[in-house]
Symmetry: C2
Subunit: 211 residues, 2 copies
């Protein structure tokens, strides 16, 4: 058996979100084409993804939602839960804290780090703030395994080095700069400038196509 494709992992996160909504509404089964519609994908893609995680359905009723949710959880969640540490309490950091807080019971933002003395030791958006020098102790104490970087570009590499040194193995970087990390660290970069410039290019292209 080969590893599950990255793109499938991404979609499993989306499936789970809509499945939770469906279960709350009292639904029990779903067909691949309906699930596909809800995450803006295709029926063949859904069937292929569920095949990857070994979930099977029936031609008559489709996929059983409760079981499917459990199968996705079993693959994606750590049974002990995982902590998240966020560095950089600006607008972007606060947006993420507000948005993500309490959304996933196995995944909690446990600590925010900054250098601004006005923020340290306060609780902002439900999250305790610490000085970045406290990263080693707090990461250990709170079982933090994921680091979020929302500091300015100039500070990003330093923060990442601190995270990596304490053993963090996955980083999400919103600073518009590439990072040096060891090969066994997963880095996801979300580059805002790049997104906007890409959209601008396609806006231009699509506009020039109209007759």
């Amino acid at each position: 058996m080969t590893a599950i494709p990255v793109k499938t992992i991404e979609r499993l996160s989306k499936y789970r979100r809509v499945i939770n909504r469906l279960l709350e509404k009292g639904e029990t089964y779903i067909f691949s084409h309906d699930l596909a519609h809800l995450i803006d994908s295709t029926p063949a893609q859904v069937r292929r993804d569920l095949m990857q995680i070994g979930h099977t359905g029936s031609p008559k009723k489709g996929y059983e939602l409760k079981q499917l949710k459990e199968n996705i959880n079993a693959l994606m969640d750590d049974s002990d839960g995982q902590g998240i540490g966020l560095a950089g309490i600006g607008y972007l950091g606060r947006a993420i804290m507000n948005y993500f807080g309490g959304r996933n019971p196995k995944l909690t933002i446990k600590a925010a780090f900054d250098t601004d003395p006005d923020k340290i030791n306060r609780v902002i958006s439900g999250c305790r703030c610490y000085h970045i020098d406290q990263i080693p102790e707090v990461v250990k104490k709170e079982n933090i395994t994921i680091g979020i970087v929302t500091v300015p570009s100039s500070a990003a590499q330093d923060i990442v080095n601190r995270f990596v040194r304490t053993g963090i193995k996955a980083i999400i970087n919103w600073a518009p700069t590439p990072l040096q990390t060891p090969p066994d660290v997963f880095v996801e970069s979300r580059d805002i400038t790049m997104s906007i410039e890409k959209a601008a290019f396609y806006a231009k292209t699509l506009n020039s196509k109209k007759k």
Copy 2:
């Protein structure tokens, strides 16, 4: 000649950013392996990308930076400039306005839209705020061709419909919900939950690998 791959467009945005920095430092030429290192890519990838846009270098000196910048601009920029409209003035909206303001001379956030009366007609992060009912007039007046959506999920589809109705052809969506759009509209979705859950999965996987 076939179209330029999406991934190449993404990297061209990154090349341009580092080229601007190099030009400011007075550099004039660069080799593919050095440029690759700066955006965390490979020499073969750089040569392939520059081939796509018809830029050529010399074995002796590499690629001429000023000319390369101009070639990327010629492909990516609209000579008249393009306006951006942002809907949803929360933390995330402000983060984007602050970060992106003045960064690209051909690409300006011209207007922010919200429904909160306290924000309307004020200038926030250097950007004039309007009520969302004013989208049609402001989009026309300011030549807005790109829409950024940072409203809550429940409001996202309505905002997108308003943008699409005024002729906007490219949308960047930060709300964690799929959008219904006509096929000739480019949509880029930046799903924060998905990013974090993906990172959590790889954190778990990488941690269980250590002996």
